[in-house]
């Protein structure tokens, strides 16, 4: 069993700098957990504490049923893959993969079995006799993964392993790592700043900011139900459109009035929640994903829709869709519309969105209301 338990984990550096505040999480065996967030959010520090490369300032870390806070990295039964890795230039791929086991004095026959098995999993058997300089970037990355696989660890820890690859190769290796997880049936903890990597690879993702967990959820849930404004903006590309407004009662209905006095109506459930929680007259943020904004000519105006309008600043044709960039209430709004739209820069556009696609966040705490 390779479940991980992180209980009240803290990391405080000298000078009272808090890198990770209070990290609590149970990771089940065979899960693929992705820690994601901007630079300085504490994701790498958390991974390094799991690895044993950083001391834990407070809290408990269990791998399996063992408390490992004071256990040196080599005894934790983990394997790490880093963003920067080096291969031994004068060794073959086989020797590169075998070297770590050789240092651990593993018998030769066992090394051979493990290296060949890892090579088979990574589909690099035909490369075993090659030297690193004769390998492509992707092949080298596989060898780096192979060095971790041969250790047969309980937990794989990966710290931005794809960041040094070009965009095309990164997409390819993303799939390879997901397949690897399925084949190995082991727990993976993966760190990235890239929300696309997080969304596509993780069974659950942990979104972090300033040393705090913002949300732990499945990628779909984090996208559909962001816990706060930060998660709403961080997950999804292009990011969620957010406008500030105030909750008003209008003709017997509860609505949000945004800065240009546009009234945005809400679902009955949203109205009820806002009213019951005393939000009338209070500031809120209203969020709508770009794909939920549609030109009003494309879909007929209906009662469960609200709309905003603005002047198109830029129209970007992406092939399958077009991004319209416009300014609403002084804020940039992006709409992902049909690629055949006739709208161009300088045109006025009315964008409608369904009430149930609206996200509401508290104006002070920025936490999700509905």
């Amino acid at each position: 069993m390779a479940n991980l338990s992180l209980r009240g984990i803290k990391k405080i550096y000298p000078g009272n700098v808090t890198a990770v505040r209070d990290f609590n999480m149970e990771i089940a065996d065979k899960e693929f957990i992705v820690l994601v967030g901007p630079s300085g959010c504490g994701k790498t520090t958390t991974l390094r504490m799991i690895a044993g490369l950083e001391d834990i300032s407070a809290g408990e870390l269990h791998i399996g049923d063992k408390l490992v806070n004071d256990m040196p990295p080599k005894d934790r039964d983990i394997a790490m893959v880093f963003q920067n890795y080096a291969l031994y230039p004068h060794m073959t791929v086989y020797e590169n993969m075998a070297f770590g086991l050789k240092l651990k004095k593993v018998p030769k026959t066992e090394i051979d079995e493990k290296v060949r098995n890892a090579a088979k999993i990574l589909e690099i058997e035909h490369l075993l006799e090659r030297k690193p300089k004769a390998l492509s970037g992707g092949q080298r990355q596989r060898v780096a993964l192979g060095r971790a696989i041969v250790r047969e660890p309980k937990v794989f820890l990966m710290d931005e392993p794809l960041s040094n690859l070009d965009a095309k190769l990164r997409v390819q290796m993303r799939t390879e790592i997901s397949k690897l997880h399925q084949r190995l049936q082991t727990t993976f903890v993966y760190v990235t700043h890239d929300q696309t990597e997080a969304m596509t690879m993780g069974t659950r993702i942990v979104i972090m900011k300033d040393g705090d967990i913002q949300q732990i959820d499945t990628p779909q849930n984090a996208y559909d139900n962001p816990a706060n404004l930060f998660v709403a903006g961080f997950i999804g590309s292009p990011q969620m459109n957010v406008l500030k407004g105030v909750v008003v009662e209008n003709n017997g209905r509860v609505a949000v009035k945004v800065e240009d006095n546009t009234i945005i109506n809400l679902t009955a459930h949203m109205e009820k929640t806002l009213k019951e929680n005393g939000y009338i007259g209070k500031d809120v943020y209203i969020g709508v994903r770009p794909e939920h904004l549609q030109e009003s000519e494309v879909e007929p105006y209906a009662s469960e829709f609200s709309s905003i309008s603005g002047n198109v600043e830029v129209a970007e044709l992406m092939g399958s869709e077009t991004y319209l960039y416009l300014k609403v209430c002084g804020k940039q709004v992006i709409a992902k519309v049909d690629s055949h739209t006739k709208k161009r820069a300088g045109d006025n556009v009315v964008l409608q969105f369904k009430w149930d696609s609206i996200h509401l966040f508290d104006g002070e705490t920025e936490k999700s209301i509905v």
């Binding site: 808090t18 630079s39 300085g40 990295p73 080096a86």
Partner: protein, 334 residues
């Protein structure tokens, strides 16, 4: 050195022949000064030939090359020449490294330099071409032999040995910084230990090694004093820190107070601290910093503006940024 001179002098008298011994760094070991009618260049280019009446031979040892001139006569018996060469080789081995291996010899001279300093009259003897680096790791549960094996397999190493809980590396790769980064990455990958590597300059003999060892030690001290992390550093990387550390403590305090006005804690959250560090590392370039931090340029501008509002220092202005950086460095001093 005195022993070499005495031993070679005795040999010269015994065989009744003048002898000249120089090393590949143009140091004359015997006699104490190269005879005026000889030049180092011509002598070293005349191996197996006759130069200014001397038969020139070469002795290669693991770490050095010596050129030996033996006064030539047409009646010389080759067996006598061989015997003289054998004697000289033996003297050099015995006297220069006290019969020890080059590593043991270097350890001894490093020890002696620590205790007595470097004798100004000392002449370099070994030929050790390469760059120097000093590796330190914070874990004790690993054998240094494992570290040495990883290093030897990662770079084109001249000599790698343990000395006072650190590993001394003499490498030959063209790009020493990349080579040291590769060492660090391989040690981290194989053993899961972080290393700090100080990279010195090129050397060609043991006296320069002593000098560069001291230089690397100074780098390590500065890195630890300012908690710069476990990475690869060279002397240029820590130069500003050396200046900061030499400032009078009263003035240091004044600088920190002037810049931060007791608001240092606002800067020291993970995100803001990373932003400041990366902005300085990227030469105050907004685009590069934003790219490195994976944030929008406007987000970066917002953070820099926040610093300005809090301290009155605009990091985009050189006049403000240099003093801010100095205060930033001082505030991190251990």
């Amino acid at each position: 050195m005195a022993n070499i001179v005495t031993a070679l002098s005795r040999l010269s008298k015994t065989v009744d022949k003048n002898i000249v011994v120089v090393n590949s760094q143009n140091v004359c070991l015997f006699p104490e000064v190269l005879p005026a009618f000889m030049s180092f260049k011509a002598l070293t280019e005349s191996v197996s030939g006759i130069y200014q009446g001397y038969r020139i031979n070469k002795i290669d040892t693991t770490n050095s090359t010596f050129y030996v001139g033996i006064e030539h006569s047409d009646s010389d018996d080759q067996r006598l020449i061989d015997l003289i060469m054998l004697n000289i080789s033996d003297i050099l081995d015995r006297e220069l490294t006290s019969g020890a291996s080059p590593v043991e010899y270097i350890r001894t001279i490093l020890d002696n330099a620590r205790i007595h300093g470097v004798n100004e009259a000392a002449k370099p003897i070994l030929y050790i071409k390469g760059w120097t680096a000093l590796l330190e790791n914070n874990r004790e549960e690993y054998e240094s032999s494992d570290l040495i094996e990883i290093i030897n397999n990662t770079i084109n190493a001249g000599l790698v040995f343990e000395y006072r809980d650190r590993i001394v590396i003499i490498g030959k790769d063209e790009d020493k910084i990349s080579a040291c980064k590769a060492i660090r990455e391989n040690i981290l990958t194989e053993l899961y230990i972080e290393c700090l590597i100080a990279v010195g300059s090129d050397i060609s003999n043991e006296l320069e090694l002593i000098e560069q060892y001291d230089c690397c030690e100074e780098i390590l001290n500065q890195v630890k004093r300012y908690s710069l992390g476990s990475k690869v550093f060279n002397f240029e990387d820590v130069y500003t820190y050396r200046i900061a550390s030499s400032i009078d403590p009263v003035i240091k305090n004044e600088i920190v107070q002037k810049v931060f006005k007791n608001k240092i804690s606002e800067m020291l959250n993970g995100e803001m601290e990373t932003t400041i560090d990366v902005f300085f590392k990227n030469n105050l370039n907004l685009t590069d910093t934003a790219a490195k931090l994976y944030i929008h340029r406007n987000t970066l501008l917002y953070r820099i503006d926040k610093i300005y509002k809090s301290t009155g220092f605009d990091l985009r202005r050189f006049e403000d940024s240099w003093l801010f950086k100095l205060a930033w460095i001082i505030s991190k001093e251990n």
